[in-house]
């Protein structure tokens, strides 16, 4: 079940869900948000009928639980529902995680079973696990 934590922009299709690492975390004040660095953008492309996609989502959400929720913006996109979005992001395999931070993008194919690689990737984006 997708957990929407912010209203839809109206441009995203129903296939895309925006979630944060800690959906229940209190929102920060407006002034504080302005000063914070831009969140790391993650898009996990999945297929609803794929076990590897389910595993990837579980691995990713488990990893993100260790980070400040407002530093990460995660979207889950079902390519079966929104193939155009997948095409725009060069997605041919699922699951694929696309990360964007500071104008740099990277693509990770697979169920993200290699936890160390994922942590390294987030670290490169300037994220540090919460104490």
């Amino acid at each position: 079940m997708e957990r929407h934590t912010e209203p839809s922009t109206g441009q995203r299709s129903a296939a895309t869900a925006v979630v944060t690492a800690h959906p229940g975390a209190p929102a920060r004040g407006a002034s504080e948000a302005r000063e914070a660095p831009a969140p790391v953008e993650l898009v996990l492309y999945v297929s609803s009928d794929s076990p590897a996609s389910l595993r990837a989502r579980r691995h990713l959400e488990s990893a993100l639980a260790r980070f400040e929720p407002d530093r990460v913006r995660l979207e889950i996109c079902d390519v079966g529902q929104d193939p155009a979005r997948g095409e725009a992001d060069h997605v041919v395999f699922t699951p694929t995680l696309v990360t964007r931070c500071g104008g740099v993008a990277s693509w990770v194919l697979g169920d993200l079973g290699d936890g160390a690689m994922l942590m390294d990737l987030l670290h490169v984006c300037g994220l540090e696990p919460s104490p």
Partner: protein, 503 residues
């Protein structure tokens, strides 16, 4: 429904075998007896630069023009580059895209960041994209360019096999006719493709090659496998022209025999008499002989006589520059100028080293279509033989013969032989190609050089088995019956023999 075979299929295949989709690639639909399997996957394999993408684009354009919407999944090159490639071949790719008959989906790897792998994945993303496009466009034909680029980085063998099977199975479920391009590690290696898994799950496999051949390259195509369909086996010469890929089906597409044998004049009354009434129309004649036996003179005057009768004739000279050739004929009082000016004769001289044999074949074919000659002279095929490998020459000659028979033209080919005109040449297939073989020779005595001509073979007709004399003189070339040598029985009409020259 079979989607428009480009060329007629052999009897017994259309409507009785599996359904096929024509590629429109000249010659390929002959080799496959009508095209690629409809609703199934065909693997097109070849090293880089063998024309795989061109084959895909040609098929998409050909079918789009016949109402079959196509999809091109661009993995190796960007959609923009593919459009430019197709448009430069005159396939009108950008126009077809504007009309909604062709769609290119960008599946290239992202250029603006690294691609890493962490654990298992599947090809569902691409399958979903294809399903959406098929639903939106109604596409029935798909080209994946290429499987090699798609599965890069290359997964482990068992994973790769599963992924490829998943993809092919999904295409089949969507009832798409698929052309999957794949890179080959070598032209003749044991391993068909670099990935090594694709051919097992595809119903047909076509191999394209571009092989070093002496100082040049030779292209060929082979239908390596075709489930549930007959196909021509072995390699066939091919080429890539400004209009795309073209193949020469070597023994395909003979014109149906008319039943009547029509004779036409060789241009020499004596030779016509010797042949029992002239050469046979729509046949191939080889004139063999050593250097100096009169082959070029006979070939040129055969062409000139044909043009004077009002036939359209093309003479290809491969041995001498055009001014020298024309001067030689003018010097014996048989100039070519008038026939050339009237438009019935074309004399084309070129050195066979200057172009590949495949390009020469294409030139012949285009010329046959544009100038539409009824008589064709190649003087000499030995010059072509010396400028190529044995295999290349064999493919070329069989290709020439296929072209001549397909178009139903009469041809005279000269061939230089050494070791006596009666010696069988080292290329026995030439005798098979020829419907008639004339053997020219000469002998020298103390006083003069005597040329002679003999009919070695004439399909479809009786002929004189005795040698005739051949004389080149001012005003042309004369061929006359020779007297039997001393001690042989003379027949009615024989000219009295000259006394033997004492040693």
């Amino acid at each position: 429904m079979s989607t428009g075979a480009a060329e007629p299929s052999p009897p017994g295949t259309t409507g009785q075998g599996i359904r096929k989709v024509a590629t429109g690639v000249p010659g390929l639909d002959v080799l496959t007896y009508g095209g690629l399997p409809e609703g199934r996957s065909t693997l097109v394999v070849g090293r880089s630069g063998t024309g795989k993408t061109i084959l895909g684009l040609q098929t998409l354009a050909y079918q789009a023009a016949r109402g079959v919407t196509g999809l091109l999944i661009a993995v190796e090159e960007s959609p923009g580059d593919l459009v430019v490639s197709g448009d430069s071949l005159g396939l009108g790719i950008s126009g077809l895209m504007r009309e909604g008959k062709l769609h290119i989906s960008d599946a290239t790897q992202p250029m603006d960041g690294p691609v890493m792998v962490s654990g298992d994945y599947d090809v569902s993303g691409l399958i979903h994209r294809i399903q959406a496009l098929v639903k939106r466009t109604g596409a029935r034909l798909i080209v994946l360019d290429s499987a090699t680029a798609l599965f890069s980085p290359r997964p482990a063998d068992n994973v790769l096999r599963n992924l490829f099977f998943q993809l092919v199975f999904a295409l089949r479920k969507m009832e798409l006719t698929a052309i999957i391009l794949a890179e080959a590690p070598s032209d003749y290696g044991e391993r068909l493709t670099t990935l090594g898994v694709e051919d097992y799950v595809c119903d047909a496999v076509v191999i394209l090659r571009n092989i070093p051949d002496g100082s040049r390259r030779r292209r060929s195509i082979e239908v390596n496998k075709y489930r549930r369909s007959p196909h021509y086996k072995g390699e066939y010469p091919s080429t890539i022209t400004a209009r795309g890929l073209a193949i020469f089906p070597l023994d395909a597409e003979d014109r149906p025999p008319t039943g009547d044998i029509e004779r036409y004049s060789s241009g020499f009354p004596g030779l016509d008499a010797m042949l029992g009434g002239g050469l046979v129309r729509d046949s191939i004649t080889i004139v063999r002989g050593p250097t100096g036996s009169g082959k070029t003179m006979l070939a040129g005057l055969y062409a000139r006589a044909g043009a004077q009768r009002g036939e359209r004739v093309v003479y290809y000279g491969f041995e001498e520059p055009r001014p020298i050739l024309l001067r030689n004929f003018a010097q014996i009082g048989m100039p070519m100028q008038e026939a050339e000016e009237s438009g019935t004769l074309q004399v084309i001289c070129r050195y066979p080293e200057a172009m590949s044999l495949e390009d020469l074949l294409v030139h012949f074919r285009l010329h046959m279509e544009e100038f539409d000659p009824s008589l064709i002279v190649l003087d000499s095929i030995s010059s072509i033989e010396h400028a190529s490998s044995e295999k290349g020459f064999r493919q070329f000659m069989i290709g020439v013969a296929a072209l001549l028979r397909k178009h139903g033209r009469s041809a005279l080919l000269t061939q230089t032989v050494t070791g006596g005109a009666s010696a069988e040449h080292t290329a026995p297939y030439l005798s098979t190609i020829a419907d008639a073989i004339l053997s020219l020779d000469y002998s020298v005595d103390e006083y003069e050089l005597q040329r002679s001509v003999r009919v070695i073979k004439l399909r479809g007709g009786a002929h004189d088995t005795h040698p005739y004399s051949l004389r080149i003189a001012q005003g042309g070339l004369s061929i006359e019956k020779m007297p039997p040598p001393w001690g042989k029985e003379r027949r009615e009409g024989d000219v009295p023999p000259k006394p033997p020259v004492s040693a």
